[in-house]
C-alpha cells in the first residue's frame, strides 16, 4: 500500500497542466473540469490496468464542484495525489472531503497575499515608472509577480505530495493556516490603505474671492490633511459596496464618471 507509484515526472506533468486550469471555468462547477484535466496524469498512473468502473468513479470524483485560487491548485492536487495513493477504493470519500475542505481556506490565503497584496504592489510600482515613460516599469512588474508565482506552481505540487498529509494530520497545521491568513490580511490592509494617497487623485478648482487674497479651497483642505477627499471617496465606495453586497460595481464606476464630467464642466474639479 505504501509503495510510491507516483513519480516526480507525474507531478511535473500535473503542474504543467495547472497552467491551463481555469480554461473551462463555468458558473455551475467552476474549475472542476480543469482539475480533472490537471489530475489525469496522476490518475493514469494509479489506475493503470484497473477495472473500468473504478476508473469512471475516479474521474467522477474529480469532476465535482471545485473552486479555489489558481496558485493553490498545484499544492492541493499534490496533496490529493498522496491521499489517492494511500487509500483503498472504499476510502475514496476522504480524498474529496480533504480536497473540498482545503479550497476555501487556501483561496482566502492566496487572495489576500497575492491578489490583494502582491498585484497592487507590483502594479503600482510598475505603473508609476510607466507613466514617466520608463520601460523598467512593466519589466519590474512582470518579475515581481512571477518571482512569487513560479515557486508556488513549480514546487507546490511536489511539496503538497510530500508534506501535505503530515501538515494536515496535525492540529497545528490548520491553526497555522488561520494565523498566516490573518497576518496576510494585515499586510493587505496596510498596503491597500497606503495606495489611497498615491493612486486616487482629485483637485478642487473652487476659489473664494479674487486675486491675491483669494482662498483656494484645495489648499485649505490640504492644510487640514493631504488626501482628505480621496480618503473620503474610498470610504464612501467601501460603504456602498458593503451595503450593496458587492453588486453594482459597474453602476458605481458609471456614477463616478458622470459626476466627474459634470463637476469638471462647472470647474469644480480640475
Amino acid at each position: 500500500m505504501n509503495e510510491r507509484k507516483i513519480t516526480k515526472s507525474d507531478i511535473n506533468k500535473m503542474e504543467a497542466r495547472c497552467f491551463f486550469v481555469q480554461n473551462s471555468h463555468n458558473y455551475e462547477r467552476m474549475i472542476s473540469l480543469g482539475i480533472l484535466h490537471a489530475f489525469t496524469p496522476i490518475l493514469k498512473k494509479l489506475y493503470a490496468g484497473r477495472p473500468k468502473e473504478e476508473i469512471v468513479a475516479a474521474q467522477k470524483r474529480h469532476l465535482e464542484y471545485f473552486n479555489t485560487m489558481p496558485m493553490m491548485v498545484p499544492f492541493i492536487l499534490g496533496l490529493s495525489a498522496s491521499i489517492e495513493e494511500n487509500t483503498t477504493e472504499d476510502e475514496k470519500d476522504s480524498v474529496v472531503a480533504i480536497k473540498t475542505s482545503l479550497m476555501g481556506p487556501l483561496a482566502g490565503l492566496g487572495d489576500s497575499l497575492l491578489n490583494f497584496t502582491l498585484f497592487p504592489i507590483a502594479g503600482s510600482i510598475g505603473a508609476s515608472l510607466a507613466i514617466q515613460g520608463n520601460f523598467l516599469g512593466p519589466i519590474l512588474m512582470f518579475l515581481l509577480v512571477n518571482i512569487v508565482y513560479m515557486p508556488l506552481r513549480l514546487l507546490g505540487g511536489h511539496w503538497g505530495y510530500k508534506k501535505g498529509s503530515e501538515l494536515l494530520a496535525s492540529d497545528k497545521g490548520k491553526s497555522t493556516l488561520d494565523k498566516i491568513s490573518n497576518m496576510a490580511n494585515v499586510l493587505g490592509v496596510v498596503i491597500t490603505a497606503s495606495l489611497i494617497p498615491t493612486t486616487v487623485k482629485i483637485t478642487l478648482g473652487l476659489n473664494f474671492g479674487e486675486g491675491e487674497g483669494a482662498i483656494v479651497l484645495q489648499q485649505m483642505l490640504d492644510n487640514i490633511m493631504p488626501s482628505l477627499i480621496p480618503l473620503a471617496i474610498v470610504m464612501l465606495c467601501y460603504y456602498l459596496l458593503k451595503k450593496w453586497q458587492g453588486k453594482y460595481v459597474v453602476s458605481l464606476i458609471l456614477g463616478i464618471i458622470i459626476i466627474s464630467v459634470a463637476l469638471s464642466y462647472f470647474g469644480i474639479l480640475i
Partner: protein
Amino acid sequence: MLVKALIIAIWAGVCTLDQRGLHLGFRKPLLAGVVVGFILGEPLEGLIIAGTLELMWLGTNAIGAYQPPDVISGSIVGVAIGIISGQGEAAGVAVGITVALLVQQLDMLATTLNVFLVHKADKVIESGEFDKINYLHYLGGLNYFLSRAIPVFLCIYFGSSLIETILAAVPEWVLNGLTIASKIIPAVGLAMLLSMMMKKNMWIFFLIGFSLSNFMGLSTIATAIIAFSLAGIYGLIVENGKKDSEIILDDSTGGYDL
C-alpha cells in the same frame, strides 16, 4: 491595419488565457497594454497609456461576488485607440472604460457556455478512458480566447475610424472629465480590496498604512516592508495571545491608572 488588428486580437485572446490559467501577469492593464504599443510601433505612447490604465484599475480583480469590468480588452483597445487617434491617455481612458464595461458581458456569456462542456464531460468519462475530456477543457479555453479576440478585432479594425470620429466630436470638457474620473476610479478598486479584508480590528492597520504614505511619503516598497513587519508583530502578539485572551483583556483595563 488588418494584420495589426489581427495580431492585437490574438494578443487579447492570449491575455485572456493568462487570466484563465497561465497567470504570468498579462491579465493586468500595464502588461497587456504595453505589448500593444510595440505592435503599433509606438512603444513609448503605449507604455504611458498602459501605465495610466493600470493605476485606474489597480484594485479591480475578479474575486468573490464581484463582477468587475473586463480590464483586458479595455486596456488593449484603450491603448490601441489612444495611439491610433493620436489623442493619448484621455482617449485611452474614455475608450478603455467603455469597452471594458461592454466586454464584461461576453465574459459572462463564455462562462455560461462552458457549463455545457462540463455536462458533456460527465457523459464522456463514462467511457472509462483517460484524457477523453481534454478537448472539452481546451474548448473552454477557446471560448474565452474568442470572447476577447473577436470584440477587440472589431473595435480596432472597423471601430477605430468610427471611434476617432466620435472622439473628434466629443467636446474637450468631456474628455477632461473622463481624465479626472480615471483618477477617482481607483477608489472603487481599493474599496473592493478593503471590503474583502476589513475585520473589526483591521482599522488600526488601515490608519497606519494610510499615514505611512500620506504623511510620511514613503514609497510602495518601503511601505511593503513595514507592512510585512507589522504582519509579523500581529502574528506574535494577537495570534499567539489568543489562548489567554482573557488575561490580556484584564491588562488593558488596568492600563488607565494614572
